[in-house]
Symmetry: C2
């Protein structure tokens, strides 16, 4: 169809972006070429630098260009609180939605032996060292309540509790603004059985 | 919130992509960093090269890395047919949907004096030269039937017709698969008044 090799390569390369199919890749390519070359050049530079320089923080495993990330080195955060999340993006979500001021630890996934994801892949040896070395009073398990997530939370929580650390997890129940008739049965049953006094 | 400068810069830079707000920029950044570094590096390279090397074809004004594009140099295309489109992406749409085998000319916009878009900005001097120098039998105006688009088509069509060139435009009417009750009144009125025998 279009025999212009470089334009074709650009459209193809844009498909590494999540959710971008052939049509949106084409739309993005034309947008950048016709309306925002400066933005495209800037993106290319920052993208190249990011892909090479951003690694995992050696303390919390979140994504960072530094050896230790800004959250880990921030002296104003509470060393007594450690919040376990699955993904770096969960940190941003918690930072934006809550007033949590403790530290974080990023698993980078969930225990899934069949997929080859064991304690080592999730950095649980590093976590164990932190639980041993640091004055952590409470471990908050902010892990998705899926089957694998719950198993992962249970695995981590048991080990921490054995060391005398207080272990908590996010409350489960009906999300705010959700109509009961659209809620899945499992969540409804759980929320019903864990109902509290008004 | 997130004090990691390079990650912030990546998320910000991704917002030059059309339709990408802060949330999707963040999602794209994490996707590339965690799951597709190779794709991200490749995109950065092709993007940088494209933004610098892709220009307008000197004959048809479409986007290309060459002085003259592949469609213009293809010896199998019919020199007697010239299709006028607004944007390079319109060429791809016509190539995919039709069996048109003529040449193209890209305006890059519509006449809009108030926005400073006159005949010069649309390359109409180049088009006039082509209409004069080349054996063009039919000029097809594949321009959106908007107010400015129609004015632009009229402007171009009159000049070509004055040179004895046959000028056609895309048929206007009810789009295939459209329910009449959802069609705008203007299109319905037009389709009604230009109805044809079955
Ligand atoms: Zn860190
Ligand atoms: Zn061309």
């Amino acid at each position: 169809m279009n025999a212009d090799a470089l334009l074709d390569r650009l459209i193809e390369a844009l498909r590494c972006l999540p959710g971008v199919g052939p049509k949106s890749a084409r739309r993005i390519a034309f947008h950048l070429l016709e309306r925002d070359r400066a933005g495209g050049i800037h993106l290319a530079e920052v993208l190249a630098e990011s892909m090479v320089r951003i690694k995992r923080c050696s303390r919390c495993r979140t994504l960072t260009e530094r050896e230790v990330c800004a959250l880990c080195t921030n002296p104003e955060r509470d060393d007594g609180l450690l919040c376990i999340v699955e993904q770096p993006s969960d940190i941003l979500a918690i930072e934006q939605a809550t007033d949590y001021r403790g530290r974080y630890f990023v698993l980078g996934g969930r225990l899934s032996p069949l997929d080859g994801v064991g304690p080592e892949e999730l950095g649980l040896d590093l976590l164990a060292r932190r639980l041993h070395d640091e004055p952590i009073a409470e471990l908050i398990l902010a892990i998705s309540p899926t089957v694998e997530g719950s198993a992962t939370a249970h695995f981590i929580g048991e080990r921490a509790a054995a060391q005398g650390i207080r272990v908590t997890r996010l409350a489960q129940g009906v999300p705010l603004g959700t109509e009961l008739e659209y809620l899945d049965g499992g969540t409804l049953a759980l929320a019903f059985s864990t109902r509290c006094t008004l």
